[in-house]
Amino acid sequence: MITYPFTYKRAKSVAEAETLLKATSESKLLAGGQTLIAAMKMRLANPPELIDISGIKELNYIRVGGGQVAIGAATIHYDVATSAEVAKAIPALAHLAGVIGDPAVRHKGTIGGSVANNDPAADYPAAVLALGATIKTNKRAIKADDFFTGMFSTALEDGEIITEIAFPIPEKAAYKKFANPASRYAMAGVFVAKFKDGIRVAATGAAPCVFRVPEMEAALAKNFTPDAVANIAVDASNMNSDLHGSAEYRANLVTVMAKRAVAEAA
């Protein structure tokens, strides 16, 4: 499959990417391209210009300190999955990065690209939302609760470039996903995080957009055991239904993955 024609430009800095973005309307940022290029090949996306930000060195880093793990937007999944620092600070986050796609995809795909794209079945949005991360851009800092606005939709505005995702370090956390056996995308993935001041639970893959489960959070705040969430079901009418699984099946998977995540974190 071949994409529509486009012009390719490579940015060496965030400032250069900003200038290029402003110069051409409808231009798009290219990071790892593991979703965007597939969409372009299917001709679902037709940007006239791609600005490649994957090689920007100032966006490629992992910094642990001050109670958080800060990851540059162009950092590939493989580097997060194999970072000893991330594994020590938030093991669940390193685990999550290591179960995205497959090894070849993890060598190319980036955290910024995954979060900006907000695919309903992407893994990173679950960690971003459950850990209450901050999405930093060239213009501002956005809280995770305000960032994911719907299917493939985010609070990002035109000309805005994600530069960093900063994850607060929780006391305990775990991510469990039920992967589609072919694509490895999450049929349902649940990230559970326990902080001093409360619990956050986020589910991906099951609905059109990543979402929190307040009933589970409240139950786990009283009793952090798998039993606490065993009888809490999410509303199937809000779940996705497709050839891989019905809405009811996905709703059930959210509860099952939540139980497994709590069991691992507890």
Binding site: M1, I2, T3, Y4, P5, F6, T7, Y8, R10, L30, G33, Q34, I37, A38, K41, M42, L50, D52, S54, Y78, G101, D102, P103, A104, V105, H107, K108, A182, S183, R184
Partner: protein, 158 residues
């Protein structure tokens, strides 16, 4: 058209390509290196896996212009001086192929995983192969071949 330069299997190459040219088409059609295959064309099957700067990547899901200045290795670049790469040897010895279509991608993925993980058990190999699909379902001998190769290669290093 954009002039793109990279090193493929140790040789410098330069060519004018359309920006939308996928790396796999550049390898197959411009350079006539047809060992890299296009299977699913949706980045799921892994028949197109090559190494870019030493890491396994799906050449159907990146543009040739993204590989500007990179070191690219394809299946054609593994054998040295007429001698098969140990992973190729192990695939032959273990009959790690049936129709052979997925084999180049399987071997490139195997070389990459052995580089990262060294000697592996079968379970690890199966997990590492999740981005490579064999439509003959011939996984048993593929896993045996990689297990064998990973042992041979790590013994040689030790």
């Amino acid at each position: 058209m954009t002039a793109v330069s990279m090193t493929v299997n140790g040789k410098p190459v330069t060519a004018d390509v359309e920006d939308r040219t996928l790396l796999v088409y550049f390898l197959r059609e411009t350079l006539r290196l047809t060992g890299t295959h296009i299977g699913c064309d949706t980045s799921q099957c892994g028949a197109c896996v090559v190494h870019v700067d030493g890491k396994a990547m799906k050449s159907c899901t990146m543009f040739a212009v993204q590989a500007e200045g990179a070191q690219v290795t394809t299946i054609e670049g593994l054998a040295k001086d007429g001698k098969l790469h140990p992973v190729q040897e192990a695939f032959r010895d273990n009959h790690g192929l049936q129709c052979g279509f997925c084999t180049p991608g399987m071997i490139m993925t195997a070389v990459d995983m052995i580089r990262r993980k060294g000697a592996m058990d079968r379970d690890t190999i199966r997990h590492e192969l999740e981005g490579n699909i064999c439509r003959c379902t011939g996984y048993h001998n593929i896993v045996s071949a990689i297990e064998d190769a990973s042992k041979r290669m790590t013994e040689k290093v030790a």
